[in-house]
Amino acid sequence: MLRSDTTGFTFGCLLPEPEVPLFGDFVKAPAQQGLTEIIGVIHNIVIEDDLFVRQLIAAPDLPDAYIQDQRRNRQIPIEVSVLSVGYSSGNTMIQGLPPQPPVTLDYIKRCSINDMIAFTDRQDYLALILNSKETPVDELIVAALQRASGARPIEDRALFLIQAGKELARLLSDDLSKLDSILRRIQVNT
């Protein structure tokens, strides 16, 4: 965990992480000294340059070992930004902003399939995504629904997507072109 606020947090990781974070993935971070777990959706992944990269990129005929070394042993971590969409307290999943953000240097984990199914059982988190200012909203919704649908058994996916679609239709009833484009991409991508 690098930094956080009520609406989201950013964590850092290195490339050889066993599970490379993906746009739209559900992740969870501990908060309130382990009392709650914040659930968020990855909406941005930033790979910044550093001095070595700048030097290397100017060097001609760079051996492959150099490139791999630079990638594995980066000076600056990959920054992954997460939009908080809910939290779990005991056995209850709550869709909404957490009471406290996670603190620095906490470990961030990817949500398990069961976590994802339990959390996306209700669709209120879609409103949080739609209302967020700094995220590519349409793409993030499509990607998040793709993950949530993929976590479910095949026979449950159609019903899940219909429920999600209904929620989106309610939220976007005054912006039909946006709704239409999201619904179309949901069908193509899932």
Binding site: T92, I94, L161, I162, G165, K166, L168, A169, R170, S173, D174, L176, S177, D180, L183, R184, I186, Q187
Partner: protein, 564 residues
Amino acid sequence: MTIESELESIFPSNKDDPSNLGLRLGIIVGGSLSKGLTVKLDAGELPGSMIEQLAVGRYVVVQGLTERRFFCIVTDVSLEHTNPSIESNPPETTDIYTAEIYRSTLVYGRANVAPMLVLERDSEEPRPVKTIPAHFSVVSQANEEDVARVFGKADDDHFYIGNPIEMDQVPINVNLDRFIERSSGVFGKSGTGKSFITRTLLSGIVKSGKASCLIFDMHNDYGWAIKNEHGREYKGLQQLFDANRVNVITLDPETSQTRGNRHDGALHIPYDAIEPEDIAMLAGVLTLSEVQVNALYFLRRRLGRKWLRKLLSDDEHDQTELDEFIQQGDLIKGTLGAIQRKFEIFRHMGFLQTNVREDLVETLFQKLNSGISIVLEFGIYGDNLPAYMFVANYLTRRIHHRYVATKNKAFGHQGDEPNPLMIVIEEAHKFLDPEISQHTIFGTIARELRKYNVTLLVVDQRPSGIDDEVMSQIGTRVTCLLDNESDIRAVFSGVSGASALREVLARLDTQQQALIMGHAVPMPVVIRTRDYGPELYAEITGGESHDIQSDGEKVAQAKADLFG
């Protein structure tokens, strides 16, 4: 305590037993008592399908917040959307996913329902509605128990007349006391089953003994058997009741005998009993001018009781007497000539006779007053509108007069109340035309309600021709399909809040369906009228159900029903 249980304690969910309610249809989102309520329909199991299951005329029940149950009737259905651009950019029909999402959320069906009755908490008796259910009250299909509760059970006072649409097991019963208490009407285009409903109602009234009926049977529909367009034969009132309950009197004994109809007497009217008032009502059909009508009163005064006979006479002596009026300047020759030409029609009325032994008016009054219903068959005179109107007017005036006298005696404690009488007239708009209804006996009877225990049952296909004032006094209206706009308007005149039912009326099936509203039913109801057949015969006669059709006829009937 979990958040859910915490919320539940603050906002308890509806605790109504769902098994007590019919299929949920939607929720109330607006409306008013006068214009009806607006229901946003649920999407339904197959999204968007709910609206297709909701026909106008169906009953729905709204469960109010204060445990009141509102009984409403569906008056209109429409398609709505939350965003107008859906009309210009609907989803592709091939895109099933998007279409289903849209149908579940962005587009919806809307129903307009008219609240009619309310069942208060802890009350078994529904009352007329004076308030409306709150926003978002749940609307569900009325179940059979609801409808049965509103329309009561069939008993001595309630007669089973049909079933609500799509509720074949629920009987709709007409309150006979209220039906005869005020004048009633059966309306509908020709061929929509007016006479079958009328016959069903009449058999119920005669069976109950609540009133005797005097039926001016223009087309021989009520007395003896009648065949429908498929050739199936149905029993008439005389076949269902014995002579102590129903008598058939004919104006045309020859035709009655030829048809094999049993009759209990023939009606003859003496010329000398006819008064100008009996004929004045025919001014329209005989095209008598006001001057000519006034001349009739003059002639009656001057010629005495034999005035009509003298007018129609070829006898020289009589002609001289008439000519004297012209010479004295009391009468214009043209007026007299016109009257005589127009009165030629009376020569063809075989029931008008010079000498009549029995005063049939008194006999009819005695029978009616003792509870015997009379069917007056017109035979060949059925197509003769002046004859029909003349006889109806002649008899009704005199019988009504006798009723008034008897009732007045009863007021003065000098006699018994006369037995209630219902006079059945067809082609009623001819009698109750706005121009003449003020002056005719039928207009008087319709207006005076049951003051003298006499009411009307008007059977008509053009209610728009009936005087508005009379129409507004019609208590119970049984209406088969009408499609003329002015007729529909007329049927609803004087019925508060019923204009919402216009669509219902215009959408009735062409046969065996009717909208009943008014005094005799707690709320308007669209019914499939009960079959006039063996089951009804058995109920009326109290005997075994037996059909008068042979097996061969039944096969023919089944074929006709199937293949038209």
